[in-house]
């Protein structure tokens, strides 16, 4: 083992024990790497080159949008802004500001004058508004998105319709006129139209607002399910919420459902 000298004082750092320790751990790793990367068959030079080329090409094609973004980010932006149509830019600015104010005013006139209801079917919440101000908000239940398939090629999708609807009719102590699917989903035989089994009282709460095409805003006996998408398309509310909505909204009031 070489010893440190005055000319080469740092030739040897490790003690014999430490060198043996390094040989024990590093040498096997080196041997394994050598084994893995030593080719055993003759591969022509052009093969790895073509492979590398193809990989590079694929990467460029795949990341081309990102590369373009970087290129455009580096390039200097346009130095000009399109000049005004007339020589007097201040007049243009004033005209534009007036025009924008008129457009915004036109937009605000689209708000309903009467109280209106907004129903969020994604999060099962409702908001009652009047003149742009909040009156009340809370939880509701909307369509379950269940596709019920009856054996005879009939099927129903239970979802709440979206868009702008209007209150067609208001009713106190509503009676439910049960459609066919109400019997099919309970495994019961479907009675004829007008049969007494078709009418059920007390399940729709104290009030109902008709939105057309059989959809209602009504109360519910299943209050623990409020806030979940469990209905057959109607909007279910808790009793206090339903009462406030019933009293604030008239026939013709708008209901916005999204």
């Amino acid at each position: 083992m070489a010893e440190n000298t005055v000319d080469r004082p740092f030739t040897t750092r490790a003690s014999p024990e430490r060198k043996g320790w390094a040989r024990r751990f590093v040498a096997p790793i080196g041997r394994a790497l050598k084994f893995l990367f030593t080719p055993r068959i003759h591969i022509p030079r052009f093969v790895p080159a073509i492979l590398a080329s193809l990989i590079l090409l694929a990467l460029i094609v795949f990341f081309a949008p990102t590369l373009r973004e970087w290129t455009l980010a580096v390039l200097p932006g346009p130095h000009h802004v399109e000049a005004a149509g007339s020589k007097d830019v201040s007049a243009d600015i004033t005209r534009l500001k007036t025009r924008i104010k008129n457009l915004q005013k036109q937009y605000t006139t689209l708000l309903p004058r009467r109280p209106y209801l907004i129903v969020d079917t994604s999060n099962n919440r409702y908001t009652l508004m009047s003149g742009g101000k909040l009156i009340r908000q809370g939880v509701c239940s909307t369509g379950s998105y269940v596709l019920l398939k009856a054996g005879d090629d009939r099927q129903w999708v239970f979802k709440t319709p979206r868009g702008r609807l209007f209150v067609q009719n208001k009713e106190e102590s509503p009676v439910w006129h049960k459609p066919d699917w109400a019997f099919i989903e309970e495994g019961l035989p479907v009675p004829p139209v007008g049969a007494p089994e078709r009418f059920e009282t007390g399940v729709l709460g104290d009030y109902a607002l008709h939105l057309g095409r059989g959809y209602l805003i009504h109360g519910t006996l299943y209050k623990r399910l409020l806030g979940m998408p469990v209905t057959h398309g109607c909007v279910r509310l808790d009793d206090p919420d339903l009462e406030v909505i019933y009293k604030n909204m008239a026939v013709g009031s708008a209901v916005f459902i999204y």
Binding site: R45, A49, A52, S53, L54, L56, L57, I60, V61, F62, F63, A64, P65, L67, R68, E69, T71, L72, L75, G77, P78, H79, H80, V81, E82, A84, V89, D92, I93, L96, R99, I100, L103, Q104, Y107, L110, L111, Y116, I118, D120, S122, N123, S144, Y145, V146, L147, K149, A150, G151, R162, G163, R164, I184, E185, G187, L188, L225, M228, F256, Y258
Partner: protein, 288 residues
């Protein structure tokens, strides 16, 4: 003839490899250089056709025309103030375009979306009534937009609603659950007792419009591990779609168009509500 000695033989054998080795080395080097050039050539071609040319096209479109529309005296003070006024006028024209588009959407029956990147608000509107205001937490706009946003034709485009041509998302548009009608009341009771499935999924979606413009809405909250994988697959699909479009353009001897991307981040609830509310061919008003 003098006998060949061992020394001569030895000298010859020592001399011979040097000549052959030198020439071989030169040929080997030249071959390697040629191989590298050939290997790099497709990559260079790809960079030119897929990156440089489309970027140059966008850059060129954003440059001023040869002569300004209105001549103004070129004094330094006037230039600075005049430039500021021009910029303000340009900003106001973009705002005017946005409100025009929004009013046009108010006349339609569909649910529409107004994305205001200046005030960082995305608003779902039905017939001009804002039903949901969503705060935009993060905005990323493609570099190409800054080249084009002051052009008259861009403003003209923004003054009409953008119509969604196609979309892609990590959540279903309608989370339908198929149920077979029960045979009897016992089976019906079992069905009724099934728990309501949770609808909390990580939300990322992209809306594609004409003219290579797209709007990506993502949730601001950190996704779950499953959501991250879904998002990675979503991104991969998007990149793959772009790559395919670019290669198709090159095959048809056209310069690929650069996809201008606008990405916004809102809360998960907002993102889900926006995606599920927008119907097919929904209209979007955009304010940059």
């Amino acid at each position: 003839m003098s006998p060949v000695t061992a020394k001569d033989t030895k000298d010859a054998s020592v001399r011979e490899p040097e000549h052959t080795g030198g020439r071989r080395r030169i040929l080997h080097t030249m071959g390697t250089i040629a191989l590298v050039c050939v290997a790099v050539l497709p990559a260079i071609a790809a960079l030119v056709f897929l990156v440089a040319l489309p970027s140059a096209r966008v850059y060129q479109r954003g440059q001023p025309h040869s002569k300004p529309a209105v001549e103004r005296p070129a004094t330094p003070a006037r230039d600075s103030a005049g430039r500021q006024k021009d910029q303000e006028a340009s900003r106001l024209r973009r705002d005017e375009a946005f409100w025009n588009a929004r009013l046009e959407l108010a006349k339609q029956e569909t649910i529409s979306l107004a994305v205001d990147l200046v005030d960082s608000v995305a608003s779902l509107d039905i017939h001009g009534v804002p039903v949901r205001n969503c705060r935009i937490r993060r905005i990323e706009v493609s570099s190409a937009v800054r080249f084009l946003q002051n052009r008259g034709d861009w403003r003209g485009r923004m003054s009409k609603p953008l119509v969604v041509r196609s979309e892609d998302a990590t959540i279903p548009k309608e989370p339908l659950r198929v149920t077979e009608a029960p045979k009897d009341t016992i089976e019906a009771m079992k069905l009724a007792a099934r728990p309501v499935p949770s609808d909390s999924m990580d939300v990322f979606f992209t809306l594609y419009f004409d003219g290579n413009l797209s709007l990506t809405v993502r949730q601001f909250e950190k996704p779950s591990s499953e959501g991250s994988k879904r998002h990675a697959r979503f991104r991969f699909k998007e990149n793959y779609r772009q790559a395919k479009k670019a290669v198709t353009a090159i095959v048809h001897s056209k310069v690929p168009q650069h996809q201008m991307r606008i990405e916004v981040a809102v809360s998960q609830d907002d993102a889900k509500a926006i995606y599920r509310a927008l119907g097919p061919k929904a209209g979007i008003a955009l304010r940059l």
